[in-house]
């Protein structure tokens, strides 16, 4: 009975893992395809397509744009999210619930709608679409996330620690920079990296709000118009690799630190 359950568990988990990994494996495998079509059979192994993408200047500048937009928008999201979390967690403000709800609200709205709203507003105001407008859009979707993560990690224990700092003579900014921020660093970093990957991967806002300079997902999108192509596999594999590296960095930097003693 127990053995049967174990076998069933392994079989089920195995099947789901195959389902989850199937597209990734196919993607990466056929990025080495020595041929024009990224589908079976595998005709040989080549790095040709990787050479292609690294010599594609449009793709490379899209990559740089993506990194730029992701870093800047995540940084702003974290900063604004942290300040708001600090203000709402440490002080009593009128309509605090409403304020929290407002800051969280964009999280419950489809990015398509946020993008469309910004597109029409920017259009009406005569603001040209650029990486800046994309960045603004990305802050709108990442700010609630950063706020929620950081606000969620502000507990009563830290209030006492901040009190202790104040009691020992620290001013408002000193408390924040020397005590609160370092203490919350794990969650701030988690928020930053999560925002980074979301922005890095975001398509619809980037698609609607950019024009000449585009981010990587938008560039990949336009590559898709030429149909199935091992070059797309190659850039997809690179993006996957970069994301995994980011994940590893986050894991090592944020989660492997000794837990706060309680």
């Amino acid at each position: 009975m127990k053995a049967l359950r174990t076998i069933l568990s392994i079989a089920y988990a195995g099947a789901i893992y195959v389902f989850i990994f199937l597209p990734v494996v196919v993607l990466v495998l056929f990025s080495f395809q020595d041929g024009r079509l990224p589908v079976p059979p595998l005709q040989g192994v080549t790095l040709h397509w990787y050479g292609e993408i690294f010599s594609d200047s449009r793709l490379m500048s899209a990559l740089a744009n993506s990194v730029l937009v992701a870093v800047v928008s995540s940084g702003i999201s974290c900063l604004l999210g942290f300040l708001a979390a600090y203000g709402l967690a440490r002080y009593t403000l009128p309509a605090a619930r409403l304020q929290r709800a407002l800051i969280i609200a964009p999280m419950t709205v489809s990015t398509l709608i946020i993008g469309l709203g910004l597109l029409s507003l920017f259009g009406a105001l005569g603001i040209f679409r650029s990486l800046w407008t994309v960045g603004i859009g990305h802050v709108v979707i990442n700010l609630p996330l950063c706020f929620a993560i950081i606000y969620g990690s502000m507990g009563a224990h830290q209030v006492n620690v901040e009190r202790a700092a104040r009691d020992l003579g620290a001013g408002e900014w000193q408390v924040m920079l020397l005590v609160t921020v370092p203490m919350l660093m794990p969650s701030i970093l988690a928020a930053f990296f999560l925002a980074l990957t979301f922005s890095w991967d975001e398509f619809i806002i980037a698609f609607l709000l950019s024009r000449f300079d585009v981010t990587l997902p938008v560039e990949i999108w336009s590559m898709l118009r030429s149909g199935l192509n091992p070059k797309t596999n190659a850039i997809g594999s690179v993006v996957f690799l970069v994301s995994i590296l980011l994940l590893l960095v986050m894991e090592l930097l944020v989660f492997r630190k000794p837990r706060r003693a309680s």
């Binding site: 009190r163 202790a164 700092a165 620290a170 001013g171 370092p182 003693a261």
Partner: protein, 365 residues
Amino acid sequence: MTADVSIRNATKSFGTFKALDDLSLDIAAGEFIVLLGPSGCGKTTLLSILGGFLEPTSGSVFIGGRDMTHVAPAKRPTTTMFQDYALFPHMTLAANVGFGLRMRGMGRGSRDEKARGYLDLVGLGQDARKKPHELSGGQRQRVALARALAVDPDVLLLDEPLGALDLKLRRQMQDELKVIQKRVGTTFIHVTHDQEEAMAIADRIVVMNRGRIEDSGSPSEVYMRPRSHFSASFMGEANFVHATVADVAADEVTVETALGRMRLPKQSFPDGAAASGGDVTLCIRPEHFRDDAAQGRSIHIGEARVSDVAFFGTHHGCSCVIEGGPDTVFKAHLPQTSDPRPGSTISLDVNADHIVILAAEPKGD
């Protein structure tokens, strides 16, 4: 450094709830004061008001003769040692202890040296480079003490600092706290709900209940001559007997109780309570039943049937009911060598001087 503290008519309301109710208290410089009371009695509120984390709704706070009622925590000559220690988790012990000095603009070299000195004081000089999470509970508690003392406060406020420690460690830290307090001479105001802890460390215990001071005095005063029903029952076990004053003589008062007539020394009565016809409450500690052979005049309370016995090491704790008396259960402590058994009868006698007379409890409590 050290300073006296004076709290004058402090009231703190949270909505309709009065956490502090017109409370006044004077504390001498260098005194080790313990605020003792059950949770919700206002002791922590009082400590927060002294530390500057709360402002009283009315009334004022003077420290070293200066009005501090509306001064921010950082500007006060007080530091607080928090219940959860509130150590900075990302800083070394040296940085923790040196933080207050850093905020006062002291250079790295001299503040490290001073921090080291305070860590030595609490026996953690070797661990200056460690971080809080590497320490045990007792060690963290010591660091919190060192950090609070490092800025040379006049008054140290301790918010249930031993609450998180296990019993043995707590008793050990009590002794250390007391020794360190005597060494630095700073006024210590310590909050706890543990009466044994209070008796072990305090120069003076202030018993609080419902935002008011019920009693205050040295540990032995508060224990032996409590001034209120609450104080008597909070500080250890006590038996209470209702009594009516029947006759007042020159140095003796005769009272009528359900256990019969008793003659008690007049000085045992609180001021004004010894008027004929007045209601009082007699308070008898369980351990006072055992010294029936002691000197002084003994009062025979009655013969009691033992219903329950438990052995506590230092004594046998008996629950018993006085024969011919009311149904109330009496607690009596008998010597280790005695052998009380349920169902047996014991004779309860008490030295007349050991009976404490309290104003009668208001009805309906």
